[in-house]
């Protein structure tokens, strides 16, 4: 992801400014048009804009029912995604916001329902797990990643984190929440319901045994959402609940704000592990200019001396790359943008030798490189990624030389989308960047193609470092599943 480029940030900042004054509908329309016109582009600005907009959408929503809130967020989200399906950060943020709403709503329902419902559903899988563990004398297998940083988890799911109690049979999409919340369908952890088919009530491998939707048997696990078992309960306590619904909104807003916080500190969190990965005298290759990678390298540079080989990503990002190398991360023209883009010195001024190379030289140098560090545009659920064009060439050269490829990505870039068709994910840019339009004969006679992104297969990546810590590409499915609710994966309207 290219860091903030002059010319595009004004759009983000003007949008954020306008958010304060415009009404919601025009803000939504504005963001849609900005996305369509690519005036807000690349993951981070898209994520920030979407989160801020969602904050306003939720704050302005009069209806306090969680379900209508979800509906509203979904509707707006769908339109945003449709505006620019390849900016997957938008969809990711929408899903995260939905997750926050669901989380809050479920906790609320629990509060209302637990009094008499809990006793009648003693057989929830969550408790089965515990008993099972106790009986068998086996250590509890926590499905949560040990590296989960409390912060990010908190951002997505404010409280109620019960790590050790991850219920056995629901591959739940949320790492936290009480056992009763975990009955929602799972196993689709790594799934993409690109189709419109709602997954049936498959809770886990046991899904097949679940009781019919009529809820005849208490042994069955009540399906979440439209559960008839819960619905009457809600009605019964409606008066009482309506008071609590006020809190829902407040809590959702808190949740979204935490999401914003996460976006702000994501680079610092990733950079925290820099010293675990970079040792002295290493030769590190990176590609295009990424705020995340620069921060990572800068953090390491404070303690260690190494050399950076920087491929320039011509023709789409080389100017940004050059600017980053020469000037570090200068904050650009927008003063009132959130303090995400702090300023820092270029690596060279910290005594780090930076060697600028054209992308062509990557293979020639790879035999001496110790590590390749890439920043993705989007990470997909199967561990593959979309990154600036040229990344796949670099990753393949690295694999050919057995050089480890490390991908630095904030969780907000993880998308639950399964890459059914990798061609669809690659965007083509302005051919004028390759050949100037003045060269009339050439432009007319030759088809000039300028892919902006590359699809990099999961088996070319050795390690992902997210703000939650490091993990293998094969484990990404779990992090993805932890952050998105299965019901929200299918917001995507582009697939029908």
């Amino acid at each position: 992801m290219p860091s903030v480029v002059p010319g595009q940030t004004p759009s983000l900042s003007t949008f954020l400014k306008s958010l304060k004054t415009n009404d919601i509908d025009s803000s939504v329309d504005l963001l849609i048009s900005l996305l369509k016109r690519r005036q807000i582009r690349s993951s981070r600005p898209c994520a920030i804009a979407t989160t801020q907009l969602m904050l306003r959408v939720v704050a302005n929503e009069r209806i306090k029912e969680a379900s209508s809130l979800i509906q509203r967020v979904r509707d707006v989200g769908r339109r945003l995604i449709a505006a620019q399906p390849r900016e997957m950060a938008v969809g990711n943020i929408v899903r995260r916001v939905l997750g926050v709403v669901r989380e809050v709503a479920e906790r609320d329902d629990d509060g209302a329902a637990s009094s008499d419902f809990a006793s009648s559903t003693p057989g929830t899988p969550g408790s089965v797990a515990q008993t099972g563990n106790a009986t068998l004398g086996r250590p509890a297998v926590s499905v949560n990643i040990p590296t989960l940083s409390p912060l990010s988890q908190g951002a997505a799911l404010p409280e109620d984190v019960q790590t050790g109690r991850e219920p056995v049979m629901s591959g739940s999409t949320s790492p936290s929440g009480a056992g009763k919340d975990q009955l929602r369908p799972a196993l689709g952890s790594v799934s993409s319901y690109a189709g419109g088919q709602a997954p049936p009530q498959i809770g886990s491998l046991f899904g097949i045994f679940q009781s019919p939707a009529t809820g005849l048997s208490p042994a069955g696990t009540p399906p979440v959402g439209g559960s008839p078992a819960i619905k009457p309960m809600q009605k019964a306590t409606k008066d009482e609940a309506s008071k609590e619904k006020l809190d829902i909104k407040a809590e959702v807003i808190d949740g979204i704000k935490e999401l914003l916080d996460e976006l702000e500190i994501v680079d610092s969190q990733i950079a925290e592990s820099a010293l675990d990965h970079i040792h002295s005298n290493e030769l590190i290759l990176t590609h295009t200019s990424s705020q995340t990678v620069q921060k990572f390298l800068t953090t390491a540079a404070r303690k260690r001396k190494f050399t950076v080989v920087h491929a320039e990503a011509y023709p789409n990002d080389h100017e940004t790359t050059h600017a980053t190398i020469v000037n570090g991360n200068k904050k650009t023209t927008n003063e009132d943008e959130e303090e995400v883009n702090e300023r820092w010195k270029p690596l060279t001024s910290m005594g780090i030798t930076v060697i600028l190379i054209p992308d062509t030289a990557v293979f020639a140098l790879m035999s001496r490189i110790n590590k390749v560090i890439l920043a993705p545009h989007t990470v997909l659920a199967n561990g593959s990624l979309i990154a600036a064009a040229g990344a796949s060439t670099i990753a393949q050269a690295a694999q050919a030389h057995r050089v480890p490829v490390v991908v630095l990505s904030g969780v907000y870039k993880l998308s639950p989308v399964y890459p059914f068709d990798t061609d669809e994910l690659v965007e083509y840019g302005d051919p004028g960047k390759v050949v100037a339009f003045q060269e009339g004969e050439f432009v007319e006679g030759v088809e000039v193609v300028n892919p902006i992104y590359d699809y990099v297969d999961a088996d070319l990546v050795d390690l992902y470092i997210t703000n939650l810590g490091g993990c293998a590409p094969s484990f990404l499915y779990r992090i993805v599943a932890d952050h998105y609710d299965n019901k929200d994966i299918n917001l995507n309207v582009k697939s029908t």
């Binding site: 100017e319 050059h322 200068k330 030289a361 892919p451």
Partner: protein, 502 residues
């Protein structure tokens, strides 16, 4: 591999040179330059000899003792070290040479304009101590001396044709292994005709060491000589030595020139046609041919297949800073081929559609590896992974006895300034102005990449070649037929050591 003068037949080159840059003109300018720089030159002169010797020996280790002997005699003066900051040199050179090849790439001419007048002067003083930190340590063995772009210290023995060729080579006006070889031989023809044997010695004994070697040494200071040039030089030296000392001088010179002509014809011209015919068989109806940068022989192959009526399309992958592929795409487009032009970053996209990859060569190394324009190895790797056949078209004159495992030991470093794109400079400039307008004081001292020499720890590496592992290469088409990479040494022995040709 890439060939600047593609469209002209090699024979025309000297004429072309005359028209663009007459030797007399060159000399006149040289004199003026010399005076202006004498002072700077003096400072730097001491450092010259060793680096130059190393350069020549690493470029052609197998070249016989001839050049070295001469060097010891004349090297001191010849190997003036780069007293000038390359920017300045380039700037001057561009002004001198109206036909400078790079002026074709967009806006290259703007570059000198962007330079602030004071900068070059300031640079000159710092040059000496800064040079080291601007060289990438891994490749320190390749930074012998900056490419010659001026006449300083050129031996008076260097023939004007050779001079003209040398500068064209340094500026990529003549570019590509075969083209350089042909142009060099043609220049040598002129040089040979200008030779007179001193009394008391014979042409066979004297010419190589006293006349040819200064020419070769001069060329080496312009740009490292290619494998094909090395092979041709070795062949020529052998030819000279074998001349009967009793042959009359003019007769011997005519004999040499005739053989040089035959060498060009047999080893390059006819060979190219044969290779193109053979390789064109690999382009089937419906093929999608992927090629990288520009190789004259690949171009010939594609044209051949097109003339044969095979319907196919071509994808040209191109790279910075030379943009050689643009000229290939243009010439193919002009004959009516369907051409797609993809920047190097879009390689993955290009490989997805391709059915066959055709590559040219700078040299074929004896361990089956291919030395070619930097980026070639990545193209071959991706094609190999996608199970697309990779076919190298290469005359046997480019086959080498050298072996290499990586692209680091055997390579050539081109001036870093070539990577400073005018567009990036312009953008940087515009950005500066834009920020000024908005009153952002901090950005006033924002530097641009053009200031790279003033930024400590920043290096720009501009390599010329990389080495493609043999396992990525499916087939090599040469005039001896199609071979696997493992047969390169066989052909090399046959063609370059057996003395078949001429």
């Amino acid at each position: 591999m890439p060939d600047a003068n593609k469209d002209q037949s090699p024979k025309e080159q000297p004429k072309d040179g005359d028209s663009s840059l007459s030797p007399a003109e060159l000399k006149k300018r040289a004199k003026a330059e010399k005076q202006a720089r004498r002072a700077a030159e003096k400072e730097q002169r001491g450092a010259g000899g060793a680096g130059g010797a190393e350069a020549s020996s690493s470029a052609t280790p197998q070249a016989n003792g001839g050049p070295r002997e001469v060097k010891q005699g004349q090297g001191q003066k010849q190997h003036q070290k780069g007293g000038q900051p390359p920017q300045q040199q380039q700037q001057q050179q561009q002004q001198q040479q109206p036909y400078h090849r790079r002026s074709g790439s967009q806006g290259a001419q703007q570059m000198p304009v962007r330079e602030k007048p004071g900068k070059a002067v300031a640079g000159a003083g710092k040059q000496g101590k800064k040079e080291g930190s601007k060289q990438v340590e891994l490749f320190s063995h390749l930074y012998t001396h900056p490419r010659r772009t001026t006449f300083e210290g050129v031996s008076k023995d260097v023939h004007p044709s050779v001079l003209a060729f040398g500068f064209k080579m340094a500026s990529y006006e003549i570019c590509g292994s075969s083209a350089r070889c042909v142009a060099m031989l043609l220049a040598f023809k002129d040089a040979i005709q200008a030779y007179t044997t001193p009394t008391g010695t014979s042409l066979a004994r004297h010419m190589t060491s006293h006349h040819l070697s200064p020419q070769i040494e001069f060329l080496k200071t312009c740009r490292a000589i290619s494998e094909s040039m090395g092979n041709a030089i070795r062949w020529l030296k052998k030819l000279i030595v074998e001349i009967d000392p009793n042959t009359a001088e003019q007769e011997a010179k005519d004999y040499l020139c005739e053989h040089i002509g035959r060498f060009i014809q047999e080893r390059i011209m006819i060979t190219d046609t044969a290779i193109a015919e053979s390789a064109a068989q690999q382009i089937k109806p419906g093929s999608v041919v992927l090629t990288f940068a520009k190789s004259s022989i690949v171009e010939k192959t594609i044209l051949e297949a097109h003339e044969a009526g095979t319907p196919f399309r071509v994808m040209v992958v191109d790279s910075r800073p030379l943009f050689e592929g643009k000229r290939l795409a243009t010439s193919l487009m002009r004959v009516g081929l369907e051409v797609e032009y993809v920047p190097f970053s879009g390689l993955a996209h290009a490989v997805k559609d391709a059915t066959v990859v055709l590559l040219g060569a700078h040299a074929m190394l004896s361990n089956g590896r291919l030395q070619s324009r930097i980026g070639t190895a990545s193209v071959a790797l991706q094609a190999h992974r996608a199970a697309i056949p990779v076919i190298v078209c290469c005359e046997s004159v480019k086959f080498s006895e050298k072996v290499a495992l990586d692209s680091i030991v055997l390579n050539e470093v081109a001036p870093s300034e070539e990577l400073l794109t005018p567009s990036s400079l312009a953008t940087a400039h515009a950005k500066k102005e834009g920020e000024d307008d908005e009153g952002d004081k901090a950005s006033k001292n924002a530097k641009t990449l053009a200031d790279w020499r003033d930024i400590s720890n920043l290096q720009i590496l501009n390599l010329m070649y990389d080495v493609t592992p043999a396992e990525y290469i499916s087939m090599i088409v040469c005039e001896y037929g199609s071979l696997p990479p493992s047969s390169v040494p066989v052909v090399h022995r046959l063609a370059n050591e057996g003395g078949i040709a001429a």
